[in-house]
């Protein structure tokens, strides 16, 4: 009974979204006040329905209601309660419900916090958002219903959640990522509204920038967290593999990053209007494309698409409507949007344009590399793989060039910068960066040198920029705080980018990996460490049993790390998982995974020394924090 209520609530949510679309459209055409007044409660009702539905599904998981097929397939009574609750988004149907819930929650928030917009724009915005949500709701209800029952044969117990997903990362990663994806739908809808109204003013840009920034912060955190999760959970220490699933989240991020920069130009200078609109449309379209590519199974297996024609067709239609419709609208209305101002090649606008071009180039290349195997196969040319060597070849140089331009960007003036003034400003950061880069390149490796040089230069920019801004105020705590949180947020994000480059370079160039064979009690040396396998014992959890090794890593006479890697057997599915043990540090991670046992009782151990890897996620976290700081700054300024 309760599952049916969940389904009913979902249908109610769809009804409310259709109601919003109808009343919203009528309200702007007939200008009847009662219709306008109806739009708001209706749009909020969408959230109420979706939330109720979501709570019901969670309850079904919590109460081990295995008569619900989705629960039976992705949970088990032995699963701890917190994983039962997160198992809701453990597969296609439930994660779509999570998406819908978050989507409608954003709509709720927008409906409440949009009072600074003109009433008519508000109604239009909610109407477009409701249309997007309606697509997802219909998809969930008609093609991915998580509430389907398996009467009359109810399984005794569930098939359990994939062990990979029984982890802390699973609790936080998907919601964060979806907050990002769905947040971009607000920018998308705002762009559609701007096209309908044929107007992009600075208030629109400010608004869009706030919402995009929130989405971007979540997306950044989600991606960084996903990388960290894969690193410790998959058991082989990889943190980015250019996997289609990773790319699906990364492409919207690249476009969103370009968007938050082009929005600055639109807000402050009234320029880049068409470009900004196009980016807003692209960012969300890519999150749609990515999510569906991954969810429909098109990417991992081409045949899944055809095997579920209902789902596949729905996806194609919805994608076509969202992307095609918005692009057609763009082609029709965009010529009306004119930039109010011009700029010269040496200006902040021009440098932000360079930023945008590089990021979009990077996105297009990632998209192309991701889709190429599909196209290749579809044309009957056979199966090929496009992996990290390909992506790195193009992506790494682009990011380094981006880094070089980031040094000049914040120091340039709007519209026009006198070239001798510009030269004087950028001289110091570039010189300091170059010297640091060369020294580090000589001491370490060229790539680390280049990346670290950019990092150092970006820090130097902070000093030069601050000094420039304080030129006629004098240096004091008060004058520093006058610069505003947003100012510091911008530099923090830029420096974090430099840190990320450097960390990646260090990790790639200095990671060391080896496999050693050790009998309990035996010691062997790996690089400067001596590795001792002390004992291997048994361990059990509620739904798994494991072999747990006790590994001691020491340097000289001092013990560095006390590690407990495991080989876990999740009994319900009989799936073996490698639970790596990690001793983490800011400078290096020691990563130990337990391998197979040999006939003579000895074990294989996979030992990795990964310098700098932790800094990659720290950089990601810093970028995300910078995003939140800037939202805070902008809210306070109002």
């Amino acid at each position: 009974m309760i599952a049916e209520l969940g389904f009913f609530a979902l249908c109610l949510s769809l009804a409310a979204s259709i109601g919003t679309i109808v009343t919203g459209t009528l309200a702007v055409t007939t200008r009847q006040q009662y219709l306008t007044a109806l739009v708001f409660p209706l749009s909020r009702m969408m959230f109420v329905g979706a939330l109720a539905s979501y709570v019901v599904l969670s309850y079904c998981f919590y109460a081990n209601d295995f008569s619900v097929e989705y629960v039976a397939n992705h949970s088990n009574s032995l699963l701890p309660w917190y994983y039962r609750l997160t198992a809701v988004w453990g597969s296609h149907e439930g994660s779509l419900l999570l998406w819908v819930m978050i989507q409608t929650a954003w709509i709720f928030v927008v409906s409440v916090f949009s009072k600074t917009l003109p009433l008519e724009s508000r109604v239009r915005l909610l109407t477009v958002l409701a249309a997007v949500a309606a697509g997802f709701l219909a998809f969930t209800i008609f093609a991915s219903n998580p509430f389907e029952r398996s009467f009359p044969f109810v399984p005794q117990n569930g098939a359990d959640l994939n062990p990979l997903l029984q982890d802390f990362g699973m609790i936080v990663h998907p919601p964060l990522l979806y907050m990002g994806y769905v947040g971009l739908s607000v920018a998308y809808s705002l762009a559609v509204v701007a096209l309908i109204e044929g107007r992009v003013d600075s208030q629109w840009a400010r608004w869009t920038r706030n919402w995009t920034m929130i989405a971007w912060s979540f997306l950044t955190a989600g991606i960084a967290l996903g990388s960290w999760w894969a690193y410790y959970e998959l058991g082989w220490g990889g943190w980015w593999f250019w996997d289609p699933v990773e790319n699906a989240s990364f492409m919207p991020w690249l476009v969103a990053t370009a968007l938050i920069h082009s929005l600055i130009v639109s807000e402050k200078r009234g320029a880049f209007q068409q470009w900004t609109i196009l980016l807003s449309l692209t960012a969300f379209s890519l999150s749609l494309l990515g999510t569906f590519l991954v969810r429909s199974g098109v990417i991992t297996s081409v045949h899944a698409f055809a095997s579920d024609p209902e789902r596949g067709l729905f996806i194609l239609q919805f994608l076509g409507m969202c992307i095609g419709g918005s692009l057609a609208l763009f082609a029709w209305r965009a010529p009306q949007l004119r930039s109010l101002t011009g700029y010269t090649p040496l200006s902040r606008e021009a440098l932000l344009l360079v930023n945008n071009l590089i990021l979009i180039l990077a996105m297009v290349i990632v998209l192309f590399g991701t889709l190429y195997p599909l196209i290749h196969d579809a044309l009957g040319m056979g199966k090929v793989s496009v992996g990290p060597p390909y992506f790195n070849l193009f992506f790494v140089p682009l990011m380094l060039i981006l880094g070089l331009f980031m040094v000049a960007g914040p120091l340039a003036n709007w519209k026009q910068t006198k070239s001798d003034r510009m030269r004087a400003l950028v001289m110091m950061p570039y010189a300091v960066g170059a010297v640091a880069g060369v020294v580090i390149a000589v001491l370490y490796t060229p790539w680390v040198g280049v990346a670290a040089g950019i990092f150092v230069a970006l820090i130097a920019v902070l000093f030069v920029d601050t000094k420039r801004k304080l030129a006629n105020r004098g240096l004091s705590l008060q004058s520093l705080s006058r610069l505003g949180v947003g100012y510091w947020a911008m530099h923090l994000a830029h420096i974090a980018f430099g840190l990320c480059l450097t960390a990646v370079a260090i990790t790639v160039e200095y990671s060391y990996e080896t496999a050693v064979r050790l009998a309990p009690g035996e010691t062997k040396s790996v690089q400067e460490y001596s590795v001792k396998l002390d004992t291997v014992g048994d361990l059990a959890g509620s739904n798994w049993v494991s072999k747990q090794g006790h590994v001691l890593m020491s340097k000289g006479d001092s013990l560095v790390a006390d590690l407990y890697p495991e080989k876990r057997n999740y009994t319900t599915r009989g799936q073996i998982m490698t639970e790596a043990a990690i001793d983490w540090g800011f400078t290096r991670d020691l990563y130990v995974a337990l391998g197979e046992q040999f006939d003579d009782g000895s074990w294989s151990l996979r030992v990795q020394i990964k310098p700098g890897v932790r800094l990659i996620w720290i950089a990601g976290a810093l970028m995300s924090i910078a995003g939140l700081m800037s939202i805070y700054a902008r809210r306070r300024r109002k």
Binding site: T341, F368, V384, V386, G387, P389, Y390
Partner: protein
């Protein structure tokens, strides 16, 4: 013919190899680096999307050993990759072959970068006249005033 024999011998020896020598020992640091580089760039033919280094599957284990044996045999990287492609197709290459059929794959991004570069440079030359027109300054000032008054109103 001889090569085929060696391959066959290697195949026959595989089961023994995987039992006795799971942990790789190399004669030189170069060979060690080559081994890890190769198993990073070769895809496990049966897995979702994992390279030989990261996969726990039996076939990945076998193929890792294969790479190891071939390095020990003094084969070049090219020969090892060739061997894998002959058996499993180009699917196993994470670094797609630099071949005619892949010309679009390698060429398109390069072409795209060049086009963007060209357009950017040619527009850069054309930009200044348009940008510094007098009318524009006027509009700009109005715009800035607008923004300021909006800020003040909030």
């Amino acid at each position: 013919m001889i090569r085929r024999f060696i391959v066959l011998a290697a195949l026959v020896m595989l089961p023994f190899v995987s039992n006795s020598q799971s942990l790789v020992q190399f004669d030189s640091e170069l060979d060690r680096t080559r081994y890890y580089a190769l198993i990073q760039e070769l895809r496990c033919p049966k897995c979702q999307n994992q390279n030989l280094a990261d996969s726990d599957s039996v076939i990945a284990e076998d193929l890792r050993n294969q790479v190891y044996v071939m390095i020990k045999d003094g084969r070049s990287d090219q020969e090892i990759v060739q061997f894998m492609v002959e058996r499993y197709g180009e699917f196993v290459l994470y670094r797609p072959a630099f071949s005619l059929s892949n010309s679009v794959l390698w060429g398109a991004p390069a072409a795209l970068i060049l086009i963007v570069l060209f357009v950017a440079v040619s527009r850069r030359k054309a930009a200044p006249q348009a940008a510094t027109a007098k009318v524009d300054d006027l509009q700009l000032q109005q715009r800035l005033d607008e923004i300021d008054s909006e800020k003040g109103a909030e």
